[in-house]
């Protein structure tokens, strides 16, 4: 995986456990007229690649396949790709538009359409023959990708799936979120003085396959992907349902798919962007599904920013680590809990207590919501 902590899952988990905040002023592109200009960049990674979001995904997929012990094309026959992105192709788009306006030749790597370029890049790089789809649920895209992977494996439509999300920062993205007045110089999820989100970039790819396949080759599953659910707010294009109706329905659908009662879940990875309305909505939704103050909850966006379509996949990696015995990382940026969020049992220090089942929830523009349930392998 790729995050503002650098390349690799170990850097990601270590950074979260140490509570390191990776938010800095923008360096990679001109930001003199962008306010706020504080983001979590994945510096020094694929800097010269025109399809940087695709390059992030390739790095993440290579790491995931190596971890799974899948080193040859024969081992990944029947491969499918579900790679979500919100605006990951906009780096290519910006470069193309600049060339057009300048009357210069278009950049070399325009052979794909921005929305699915990273997914097709993975498919070609690793020899996919199964479904290759870019789910587009805005900031819930990475979570939706893992939901698709679960569906394809369950229905026998693929033997192994590279599933996750990727997104990158560019002027197109930062200026847009700034125009929405959704951004801040630092993110404080569920805090009473939170001002908004901080954008980030990165990618996470997980290898999803039937447990029997993993065991047959002598490998060890890291976690079980037990359930997935999705639901629409059906209320507003940019603002969340104030009551968290869609988020609650997605979480309930994921629990039903997993065959679990809410009381069996020990930990919820919240979307937790640090915006006023998202966090209040989520607090209501989580309390409605799990009861007030019962389940442990965190958000990692105060540390690595909101990585948009990649966020759900990064958070799924954290959940997989947690159910495998890792500690729950703290909610970085939380100082004083908002009274509107008091129904949440927020993790504020590294929490080593074991977790058998974790739920990860994501929400996005256009009222998109998706959730996953992961369990100990």
């Amino acid at each position: 995986m790729v995050s503002a902590y650098g390349s690799g899952g170990e850097a990601f988990l270590t950074g979260l456990r140490h509570g390191r905040i990776a938010v800095r002023p923008i360096e990679r592109f001109s930001a003199v007229d962008l306010r706020p200009n504080m983001v979590a960049e994945a510096r020094g990674i694929a800097e010269d690649d025109p399809d940087r979001a695709g390059a992030f995904a390739v790095l993440a997929a290579e790491e995931a396949l190596a971890m799974a012990g899948l080193s040859s094309r024969a081992q990944i026959a029947g491969l499918a790709v579900a790679l979500g992105t919100t605006l990951g192709g906009m780096g290519i788009f910006e470069a193309w538009d600049a060339a057009v306006q300048a009357g210069e030749p278009p950049p070399g790597q325009l052979s794909q359409v921005p929305y699915y370029a990273p997914a097709v890049r993975l498919a070609r790089r690793f020899g996919a023959s199964g479904p290759v789809v870019a789910p587009q649920l805005a900031c819930a895209s990475g979570t939706a990708a893992l939901a698709l992977a679960r569906s394809w494996i369950r229905d026998g439509r693929a033997d192994v799936v590279l599933a996750g999300g990727t997104d990158l920062l560019c002027r197109f993205v930062v200026a847009g979120f700034n125009a929405l007045r959704a951004t801040a110089t630092s993110a404080h999820p569920f805090d009473r003085d939170r001002q908004g989100l901080v954008l980030g970039e990165g990618a996470a790819v997980l290898v999803v396959e039937p447990a029997r396949r993993v065991l047959a080759r002598g490998a060890r599953p890291l976690a079980r992907l037990l359930g997935a659910g999705a639901a629409a707010d059906a209320v507003h294009m940019t603002a969340p349902d104030r009551e968290g109706g869609g988020a609650a329905r997605a979480m309930q659908a994921a629990l039903e798919d997993a065959g679990l009662a809410a009381q069996e879940v020990d930990f919820v990875s919240a979307h937790g962007t640090g915006t006023v309305y998202n966090d209040a909505m989520e607090a209501r939704a989580i309390a409605r599904v799990f009861g007030e103050g019962r389940v442990r909850v965190n958000s990692i966006k105060g540390a690595i920013g909101h990585t948009l379509g990649a966020a759900g996949a990064l958070e799924a990696v954290m959940c997989a680590d947690v159910v495998a015995g890792g500690p729950i990382p703290p909610t970085i940026g939380l100082r004083e809990i908002d009274p509107a969020c008091e129904g949440l049992r927020l993790v504020r220090e590294l929490d080593p207590a074991p977790v058998a089942y974790a739920l990860s929830t994501s929400s996005g523009f256009a009222g998109a919501n998706a959730a996953l349930v992961l369990g100990r392998a």
Binding site: Y116, S129, G130, P131, V133, G176, A232, D233, G246, A368
Partner: protein
């Protein structure tokens, strides 16, 4: 009405398409409140909303009555989604700087904007997915919609595709070397999917059965996409095959299903120049 097939079969109870030249008239036919939303939306959303409205009305599903209905869902496929809106946002940013950027335009730069508008207009509170799989996105949406319906939890689901045409897209495709692979055009098409027993129970008439839907990837170009591995033992002999692009392939199927052409089955299949392939097999229901 009696069951004419397995109760769990996924059937089509409504279907509609809107082509670009017919959009203005289709917008006029939208109910007032939805038309008011649609006229402010970007073109791909207008196409999707008008086709969705006609498909839902054909199925006898009239839209929201109270809060969002968690039993209703949608899967929309789009190849170029909001590229026209992306271009508009990018031009404003380049020409006026961040201060000139419109928050409303930026909010519509995500590919799921059309899906979101449809969920709001009709109160679809269940699963709402947008998928991009190149020029087979519409067929891929039908495949994912069929899987969602088969997994239970939803009573009905809109599945289909939408894309809009414009100068920035034409320029992009030319620069990407894809222009020759794509005939310019735009439109949207949707089917309403239900389980046969649910459709019959509410008195809706199944128009067709969605027998098989599959997607895959072929890195190397082939003139005709192969039948897919998970086509299984259900190969359909003698059925007409409609190759096509995106929602156009879906439109071809819908036109055939609505026609009096011979035979009871058809297959729609296609391959995107970037490698994605999809195939969907339909069986026309006998009238009465």
């Amino acid at each position: 009405m009696s069951l004419q097939g397995p109760a769990d079969e996924i059937v089509v109870t409504g279907m509609a398409s809107v082509a670009g030249p017919d959009l203005e008239g289709a917008l006029e036919r939208l109910p007032g409140a939805i038309r008011a939303r649609a006229v402010r939306a970007e073109r791909v959303t207008q196409l999707a909303l008008t086709a969705a409205d006609a498909a839902l009305r054909g199925a006898g599903i009239t839209g929201r009555d109270g809060g969002p209905d968690p039993r209703l869902g949608i899967v929309l496929g789009t190849a170029f989604g909001c590229l026209l809106t992306n271009a508009l946002h990018q031009r404003r940013l380049a020409e006026t700087g961040p201060g000139g950027v419109s928050p409303r335009t930026f909010a519509a730069t995500v590919s799921n904007a059309a899906t979101g508008e449809i969920t709001i207009a009709y109160g679809l509170g269940g699963a709402a997915l947008t998928v991009t799989a190149g020029l087979v996105s519409g067929l891929a949406a039908v495949a994912e919609g069929r899987a969602l319906m088969a997994s239970g939890g939803l009573a009905a689901l809109l599945a289909g595709g939408a894309d809009a045409w414009g100068a920035p897209l034409a320029r992009w495709l030319g620069d990407a070397g894809l222009a020759e692979a794509i005939v310019p055009g735009e439109g949207a098409a949707f089917v309403v999917l239900e389980r046969r027993r649910d459709a019959v129970a509410r008195g809706a008439r199944p128009l067709a059965c969605l027998e098989v839907a599959a997607t895959g990837f072929e890195a190397e170009s082939r003139e005709t996409p192969r039948l897919l591995p998970d086509w299984g033992g259900q190969a359909i002999e003698g059925a007409p095959v409609f190759p096509g692009l995106g929602e156009r392939a879906l439109v071809a199927a819908l036109q055939w299903l609505a026609s009096a052409a011979g035979g009871t089955r058809c297959i729609v299949r296609d391959r995107c120049p970037t490698g994605q392939v999809a195939a969907v097999a339909w069986r026309r229901e006998e009238a009465g």
